[in-house]
């Protein structure tokens, strides 16, 4: 199973290095990969049905509790088959649709990686592994949406979808880690087996927020839906594959997968129902106001995803069943419709529904596929869609008190969806006359065959409900915990459900006949844009960017003075806070009596030196004052028994002064550059810092002293290290490495000075 997942990645890697030959016609060969995988998963079906699940374990980052545990149960099976099955069609379709694209190998690479990642998501048992693959789908989607790299719109769409799904990814990460630390494992199976009740945990709301947030962004639920229409910038195979049939269902899959763990609380159901309901209505409603084929499909996809969320939210067995069937129904007809839309686009060069008519006789197979898909979408018997719709109504009707309300919402949604399906799947082929400006190109079989196959399947699955049933049975037991008993049938007899289906179809058809897509409607909807989630989000993100700029500009103003003062204020604030709390130094002025006159005068000279260095208007006077200051320090070092120190300080100070003196030629005059206010401000900061240091020193001086080190040095300097100048012995022996490093610093400084003065770089040297 690991191989199955990895195949896509390996395929992608191979393409990087050997993609050239697989570009033109040969690209059809690429389809071998998904078809092979599809066959592989089909071959597993009997075992899954018999045993419930196939579990494979591969150790990976075991120390972090992350292993490659794959669990192929019913739910995974449905998704895996969808991924590889529709994947096969898309691969075939791509070979013709994208013919001539210079980066076709790259495109296939992405598709392969995407397929692998998606398989990883649905097959993994480990939550972190799920996250790993989940993020990969996000990234690949980013690449695919931005495939037309030179198109600004594509890039923006890619960024938007990445932003939203990326945000969701972060939520997912938070959620699963929270789940993992509560459940003490990342394996879903282990969690289930341990019977842990997340809903009893105090952090349940947080988990809910994280997980549902992740699922909603990925599955384009209101108000995160808007990335999906934008993502239609991607080439049609991508829209078909990622943005209708598979990736967007990852969120649905996640909710499905986790509902046994998280679903036993009303807040879970209510949230899903509410957002699912809003989304399905919102999406369906918007299809009426679109004229671009893919846009219509995008909104109908959003709506369908809403239905799925809504159904899972209902939480009953019937609802789960409906959702599972509807996933398949939707995948089949939506993929078909996308392929049809793509074919039309390819043949005519437009997707504008206002200009498309009368294509039927030019592209019969495409028309057939479109009509079949539209029928399934409409839920007209004997299509698979009819089955799905029945189950939806059955689920809503079984909801007791709120049944009427929920059913009404479902019916309304389905009516609008029917309209959308007809507009895309039927309208372009109806009528007799072509738009005069449109030239219809001939399509190669690779373009229409996949659509046709899927279209036919839409009906076949309806006629043979046992196929779907066989797949759903283990899936339902996987997510609901109970085996599936009743049998799917096309004909239930005359029931309320049938009535509702009839109403749906009738109203939908009427809507199709009397409401025509028009630019006026598009414009009408655009007026309400300012309250649309997209615009609001964009405004928020723009506001965030503005804040970012403000923040960055404020802190990184480029002015060194601000930097230093910020640091200083920070230091003074925190150190002051800590120091004031502990300060019990009593300043003992009586010790000043012991200060001798010459000490006093040395200090006096020091302080005057400081004053001159700071306030002198002459640079050289300041430097000379620095010299005086240093020499006064030497004298103090001599007072307190540090001849080596005095010597070194003296020589260094002299050298520094000389350096300054030599360097200062041609520097401009000292100017007063700052105003009084900033000088006072700086002065206050500087003095507070100085005061802090003084207080700190006094406080430390009050502490007992430990001279273990110096005693050791004093005792051993001559006996062991053969030197009498203990300071020098420390420098060359006890702490010789310090000195070694110190002279290295000097050597480097010399090199630095040398290069500073001598090196000139030409502008042409780019390094």
């Amino acid at each position: 199973m690991l191989t199955a997942v990895l195949t896509g990645f390996i395929f992608a890697c191979v393409l990087v290095f050997a993609g050239k030959p697989l570009k033109g016609r040969a690209s059809l060969i690429n389809a071998v990969v998904p078809i092979g995988l599809f066959v592989y998963f089909c071959a597993q079906i009997p075992q899954v049905i018999a045993e419930g699940a196939i579990y494979k374990s591969y150790s990976w980052v075991s120390s972090m509790g992350v292993d490659m545990n794959f669990n192929l149960d019913g739910l995974s099976m449905i998704f895996a088959l969808m991924i590889t099955g529709i994947g096969s069609m898309v691969f075939i379709y791509t070979s013709a649709y994208m013919k001539g694209s210079p980066q076709l190998d790259r495109f296939y690479g992405y598709l392969g990686m995407f397929m692998a990642a998606m398989l990883g998501v649905v097959l993994s048992d480990n939550l972190i592994t799920i996250f790993v693959f989940w993020e990969l789908t996000t990234i690949v989607s980013f690449f695919l949406i931005g495939y037309n790299t030179h198109d600004k719109g594509s890039r923006r769409a890619a960024m938007t979808s990445l932003g939203l799904t990326g945000l969701g990814g972060m939520l997912l990460l938070g959620g699963i880690i929270l789940m993992g630390s509560i459940g003490d494992t990342y394996s879903i199976q282990e969690m289930l087996n341990s019977g842990i009740a997340f809903s009893d945990n105090a952090y349940y709301p947080l988990i809910l927020f994280f997980i549902i947030g992740a699922a909603f962004t990925k599955s384009a639920q209101f108000p995160f839906h808007f990335w999906l229409p934008l993502a239609m910038k991607a080439p049609t195979p991508v829209s078909t594959y990622l943005h209708s049939a598979t990736m967007v269902k990852a969120g649905i899959y996640l909710i499905f997968r986790l509902s046994p763990l998280l679903g036993n609380d009303p807040s879970w159901n209510n949230t899903l129902m509410l957002f699912g309901g809003i989304t399905m209505l919102y999406g369906a409603w918007h299809t009426v106001f679109r004229t671009d084929l893919k846009a219509i499909l995008a909104y109908s996809t959003i709506s369908a995803l809403g239905i799925l969320t809504f159904l899972i939210g209902l939480g009953t067995k019937a609802a789960f069943l409906a959702a599972l069937i509807f996933i398949m129904v939707h995948a089949l007809y939506k993929a078909t419709l996308f392929l049809v839309a793509g074919s039309i686009d390819k043949a005519t060069g437009t997707r504008d529904i206002l200009r498309l008519r009368g294509l039927g006789k030019y592209m019969i197979p495409v028309a057939i596929a479109g009509i079949l898909a539209a029928i399934s979408n409409a839920g007209i018997p004997p299509s698979f869609g009819f089955l799905g719709k029945d189950l939806i109504y059955e689920a809503t009707l079984g909801m007791g008190e709120s049944a009427v309300f929920l059913t009404a919402a479902a019916v309304l949604t389905n009516i609008l969806l029917l309209y959308a399906g007809f507009v895309v799947g039927i309208k372009p082929f109806m009528g007799t006359r072509l738009d005069p400006e449109i030239k219809v190109k001939k399509l190669s079989p690779a373009i229409w065959v996949p659509g046709l196959i899927l279209g036919i399947l839409c009906i076949v699955f309806g006629i043979f409900p046992a196929v779907g049933e066989g797949l759903v049975r283990p899936a339902l037991s996987a997510v609901y915990g109970e085996p599936f008993e009743s049998h799917l049938k096309l004909w239930h007899g005359f029931t309320t459900i049938l009535l509702l289906s009839g109403i749906t179809i009738a109203c939908g058809v009427l809507l199709y006949l009397f409401v025509k897509p028009s630019n006026q409607k598009v414009a009408l909807m655009a007026k309400a844009d300012f309250i649309s989630p997209q615009v609001i989000t964009e405004q928020i993100s723009r506001g965030f960017l503005r804040l970012s700029i403000f923040w960055t500009r404020t802190f990184n103003s480029g002015y060194l003075g601000y930097y230093v003062i910020t640091v200083m204020v920070f230091v003074i604030g925190i150190v002051g806070y800590e120091l004031v709390a502990v300060l019990h130094v009593k300043v003992d002025f009586s010790q000043l009596k012991e200060v001798t006159f010459y000490e006093m005068s040395t200090i006096l000279i020091m302080i005057s030196g400081i004053v001159v260095a700071v306030f002198s208007q002459s640079r050289l006077a300041a430097i000379a004052a620095l010299g005086v200051l240093g020499y006064a320090m030497c004298i103090i070092f001599v007072f307190y028994g540090a001849p080596d120190l005095a010597m070194t300080q003296f020589s260094i100070d002299t050298l520094t002064v000389i350096l300054f003196v030599l360097i200062i030629f041609r520097l401009p005059k000292y100017k007063v550059l700052s105003n009084m206010r900033s000088r006072i401000r700086d002065g206050v900061v500087a003095l507070s810092f100085g005061t802090l240091i003084t207080l700190l020193i006094l406080e430390v001086l009050a502490q007992p002293v430990n001279r273990e080190l110096s005693e050791f040095y004093a005792d051993n300097a001559y006996l062991l290290a053969k030197g009498k100048n203990v300071v020098n012995v420390i420098l060359v022996d006890f702490r010789g490495i310090d000195t070694l490093v110190e002279i290295t610093v000097l050597a480097i400084a010399a090199i630095g000075v040398f290069s500073l003065m001598k090196l000139e770089i030409k502008k042409s040297e780019i390094d």
Binding site: S618, R619, A621, I664, R666, L667, P668, K669
Partner: protein, 130 residues
């Protein structure tokens, strides 16, 4: 006995240094300050050094003290000459009661006119601070 000699020598030395200090404060122009100070200080410090050498009464210390004296005698006049020389050419003025200035009229004298002309021609901001 030596102690008293040492005290006297050191006191004299300290006084000479003090005179030098007084001189540097009181003298009216740079050249006079240099004149007064360099040697007074050298002599004063030299005496202090000799006093210290006498106190320690040890060959190595004595030689060290002598070495310092030797060094001071060698360097002090050179330093005085240098700073006086360069200052003169930079245009540090003589005291207004000075009697003669032979250097001014000699071939080595300061290019007075040039200096004057030079001054205002320097571009603003380029002018070097003292």
């Amino acid at each position: 006995m030596t102690d008293i000699a040492i005290m006297i020598i050191i006191t004299l030395g300290a006084l000479f240094v003090l005179f030098a200090a007084l001189g540097i404060v009181r003298m009216p122009d740079l050249y006079l300050r240099i004149s007064v100070t360099t040697k007074a200080a050298t002599l004063g410090v030299g005496m202090i050094l000799i006093g210290a050498a006498m106190y320690f009464n040890e060959a190595s210390i004595t030689t060290r003290a002598l070495a310092i004296v030797f060094f001071l005698i060698l360097t002090a006049p050179v330093g005085a000459h240098l700073i006086g020389n360069t200052s003169y050419y930079k245009g540090v003025p003589l005291w207004n009661r000075s009697k003669v200035d032979d250097l001014k009229n000699s071939s080595n004298g300061p290019p007075e006119n040039e200096v004057r002309k030079d001054e205002p021609q320097r571009p603003q901001g380029e002018q070097t601070a003292e």
